[in-house]
């Protein structure tokens, strides 16, 4: 339950804005119960009181999201002080941003990478796809040209081979997602063993690479679909 989660989170360093209680709880003061501004330096995981694991129970996350929404939403602070209203907007926008990111596995992994100091990797074609990409771009060009000249047969031919390619690309995407999820599990298990930076790095590197391939293929799929 989300209620429980709120109290088991890491102790806040901050002092309550209103009653000056030291180490007031996160989000709400343990003494006076008033809403607190977002703790400086919190990230989306810590905001939800989650460790930086990648396998997340999405229905549990949704439950926490709804429960916290009911605690933070500005609707409930309409006649509160300006500070509390501000804190409520801060907390609920952080909550919404965090939920949006964490509920999607890919966005979640990308976010973890930025937390671990990775820049967003450029979209790169997977090496085993380089030749195919060249071929596909040619076919896209052919389709475009055939459409222009009104050559129906040529267009139909290009279309069918592109459609075939799409099926293949979707399979590749699936493969990437499977490998990515396997990495998620590896990551979670080394986290449990207090991994060192050296232990983490190879996993993160591979994740970053897979994500870059993934984006590349998705762009390609989008381009093909647009042309079809």
């Amino acid at each position: 339950m989300a209620e429980a989660a709120i109290n088991t989170g890491r102790a806040s360093q901050s002092e309550c804005l209103y009653c000056r209680t030291q180490s007031a709880g996160p989000h709400f003061c343990s003494e006076c119960g008033k809403i607190q501004p977002v703790v400086a330096g919190s990230d989306y995981f810590s905001f939800f009181h989650l460790p930086r694991r990648l396998c997340i129970d999405e229905s549990e996350l949704e439950k926490s999201f709804y429960a916290l929404s009911r605690q933070f939403h500005p609707d409930y602070f309409m006649s509160a002080s300006a500070e509390e209203r501000q804190a409520s907007i801060e907390c609920s926008s952080m909550l919404n941003d965090a939920y949006r990111t964490l509920r999607n596995p890919v966005a979640r992994a990308k976010y973890l990478l930025t937390l671990e100091g990775y820049k967003e990797a450029e979209k790169k074609a997977p090496p085993d796809l380089l030749e195919e990409v060249f071929e596909l771009n040619m076919q896209i060009e052919e389709l475009r040209a055939a459409k222009k000249t009104g050559d129906e047969d040529e267009a139909a031919e290009a279309r069918s081979s592109l459609e075939e390619a799409l099926i293949d690309l979707h399979k590749k995407l699936q493969g990437i997602d499977e490998r990515l999820f396997a990495l998620f599990e590896d990551w979670d298990s080394i986290l449990g063993r207090d991994a060192t930076a050296d232990g983490k790095k190879p996993l993160l590197d591979r994740m970053s690479e897979l994500l870059s391939h993934r984006s590349y293929i998705r762009n390609l799929v989008r381009d093909i679909k647009e042309e079809l």
């Binding site: 009911r70 939920y99 949006r100």
Partner: protein, 627 residues
């Protein structure tokens, strides 16, 4: 006597709160009664206020609603309608809309449209404020106390500027806008869908001039908008126009003349086809009868069957289905996954519309509530939630459009994606390009396209006062925050110094605070006029009551109780008051009410005594019986 009444949550009771549906064609106001939400109606039971404002600059006369609509045909240059289409827009955005209306646009309308009316210019928020003020007055009269807070609904796709313009209109009308709520969300509240644990809801809203489809997800009392789509130029008016064309064609065929430039004849045709349309929601056929006057061939009459009607409007109804399918696709849903379909807008009474919607969603749509009123009803429910701090219901709205900033070469970097739950925020780091640069220009846009020229400019501002440093060294974090009403605020912080930067956000469209202040001052003169009108209405109402009572007493009871002299005096006072009521001097009416009161005082006393004696007699009888 308690000075301030405190409710349980510790908030001072600050008067009544209402929900307002500020529509393109009609507007309504509703409130939460002990028996649930109800629309506030006028004396004749009408809840709809046509969203039309008439202004005559020669007489400095302002009319709103029904009265303004009556003048729309005879003095079209003096009335503004469909103002909702122009909210939060500059003239370049609405070329098409402007070509469809006869309004005269004032010079300098690039950022905020100004309607030239005689020697005065009104902006869309001001015109909307006149409508809101009328609704506010209606509600205040109903409660007998000033209404100062409201929830106002807008279409789900309204962008920041349009929402802000709506809020400005509320402010100008003297209303504190507690919340801007999406219309489909309000409609779902009206149907109590929030009581379900989990549901996907489609809201089909075919109004007078616009069509909107929205797909919402409800879970544990929280609403999320999944997708929206629609057609901003498709509504009941278009159906009317199809029928008008049909009639005009037939008249032309039989008389050789097309009476579309005769306002009187045109109006008669319009009224007749609207009546026929309404009747065909209840029956299989109807008769259109129009007296066109001798020059257009006299009487026009024809039978119109439902089958024929369906054929005439079929294409228009069909056009609503495309946006529905797109909305389903955007929400990544099949029609079968929709749990509830809600019908909003008068045109959803048309059997063909209901049939088509049912076919598409494979589900019987909700039509139990008055489709003209559901949005206002929902707004009243939300207003009650906000005023009372109830926690059982929470609306989580989303931004309808992505928020982005302009980067090098006019390319947009998206920072908050559309359909993000609000409040939502994003931070972006800015730095300098040349040594010792002390200011950075930031351009915020809203839209889904990649290039700045295809998106809508929201605001431009300059980060100022950056200490002179080598290029690329300063790190200014700019925070964009979209609040629960979908309205953007921006703040900036120097990452090195921790210093907050002053940002003056100049909205690209919309009104500045100074402009609003000026409008508030300008509106006082109309407020004066409003007070006079209200006084007159109240005085007349009171006079009617007093006259009815006096006439009744005179007729039924006066015989034998008072002498002929007194009776004549009362009759005279009655006549005098009747005359005053016909005029519009409320002070005179008040004086004559008093005169009639004085003249009938004696009679009233006698009647009262008589009633008392009778009551005493009854009581004695009953006491005797009991004893």
């Amino acid at each position: 006597m308690p000075v301030i009444e405190l409710s349980m949550s510790g908030r001072p009771k600050s008067g009544r709160v209402v929900g307002i549906d500020l529509g393109t064609t009609n507007s309504l106001v509703a409130y939460m009664s002990d028996n649930g939400a109800e629309v506030i109606r006028d004396a004749s039971g009408n809840g709809l206020v046509p969203s039309i404002v008439y202004y005559d600059h020669e007489q400095d006369r302002l009319l709103v609603g029904e009265e303004a609509r009556d003048r729309l045909i005879t003095e079209p240059r003096k009335a503004i309608y469909s103002v909702k289409r122009f909210m939060g827009k500059g003239s370049a955005d609405v070329q098409e809309d402007l070509s469809l209306v006869p309004f005269q646009i004032a010079p300098g309308s690039e950022q905020v449209i100004g309607f030239q009316m005689g020697d005065r210019v009104f902006t869309p928020p001001e015109i909307s404020a006149f409508i809101l003020r009328d609704l506010k007055r209606r509600a205040s009269q109903f409660f007998g106390e000033e209404v100062s807070q409201a929830v106002i609904t807008v279409p789900a796709y309204f962008n920041d500027a349009q929402r802000q313009a709506t809020k400005d209109a509320g402010h100008l009308a003297g209303l504190e806008v507690l919340r801007i709520v999406n219309e489909p969300t309000a409609a779902s509240l009206a149907y109590g869908i929030d009581k379900r644990d989990e549901a996907i809801v489609a809201v089909y809203d075919l109004g007078g001039g616009t069509f909107d489809i929205s797909i919402l997800k409800l879970k544990e009392g929280i609403f999320e908008v999944l997708s929206t789509n629609g057609d901003t130029h498709l509504g009941g008016d278009d159906l009317d126009n199809e029928l008008i064309t049909l009639v005009l064609d037939e008249i032309e065929r039989s008389t050789g003349r097309r009476p579309d430039h005769d306002p009187g004849a045109f109006q008669a045709i319009r009224k007749a086809v609207i009546r026929a349309k309404h009747e065909l929601s209840e029956s299989q056929s109807t008769t259109i009868e129009i007296d066109l006057g001798a020059q257009h061939g006299g009487q026009y009459q024809r039978e119109l069957t439902l089958v024929e009607f369906d054929r005439v409007v079929g294409n228009l109804v069909e056009r609503t289905l495309g946006p529905c399918k797109k909305a389903l696709k955007d929400a990544d849903l099949d029609p079968e996954q929709i749990d509830e379909v809600i019908m909003v807008g008068g045109s959803t009474r048309i059997p063909l519309v209901r049939r088509k919607v049912k076919e598409l969603f494979k589900r019987e749509p909700h039509v139990e509530l008055n489709p003209d009123e559901v949005v206002a009803i929902g707004a009243a429910i939300q207003a009650d939630v906000l005023a009372g701090g109830r926690r059982d219901l929470l609306l989580l709205d989303v931004t309808p459009l992505s928020l982005g900033i302009e980067t090098m070469g006019g390319v947009i970097a998206k920072i908050i994606n559309r359909n993000s739950t609000i409040p939502a925020s994003a931070s972006e780091m800015f730095t300098t390009w040349v040594d010792n640069q002390t200011g950075i220009d930031v351009h915020v846009v809203q839209g889904e396209r990649e290039m700045v020229s295809d998106c809508r400019s929201l605001a431009k501002f300059t980060l100022k006062g950056i200490p002179p440093q080598p290029a690329g060294l300063p790190r200014i974090e700019v925070r964009f925050l979209i609040d629960a009403n979908g309205i953007l605020t921006v703040s900036a912080r120097d990452q090195r110094t921790g210093q907050e930067h002053s940002i003056e956000v100049k909205p690209s469209y919309g009104l500045t605070d100074e402009q609003i202040e000026k409008m508030l001052i300008d509106s006082f003169e109309f407020a004066e006029e409003d007070v006079r009108r209200r006084q007159l209405v109240e005085a007349r109402n009171e006079a009617e009551t007093v006259m009815r009572a006096a006439a009744k007493a005179l007729e039924e009871r006066a015989q034998g109780l008072i002498d002929e002299g007194e009776r004549t005096a009362i009759r005279q006072a009655l006549d005098d008051l009747r005359q005053a009521v016909a005029g519009d001097d409320y002070q005179l009416i008040r004086e004559r009410i008093k005169a009639l009161d004085d003249a009938s005082q004696h009679l009233a006393e006698i009647i009262m005594d008589g009633a008392l004696v009778a009551a005493l007699k009854d009581r004695k009888a009953s006491e005797v019986a009991e004893g």
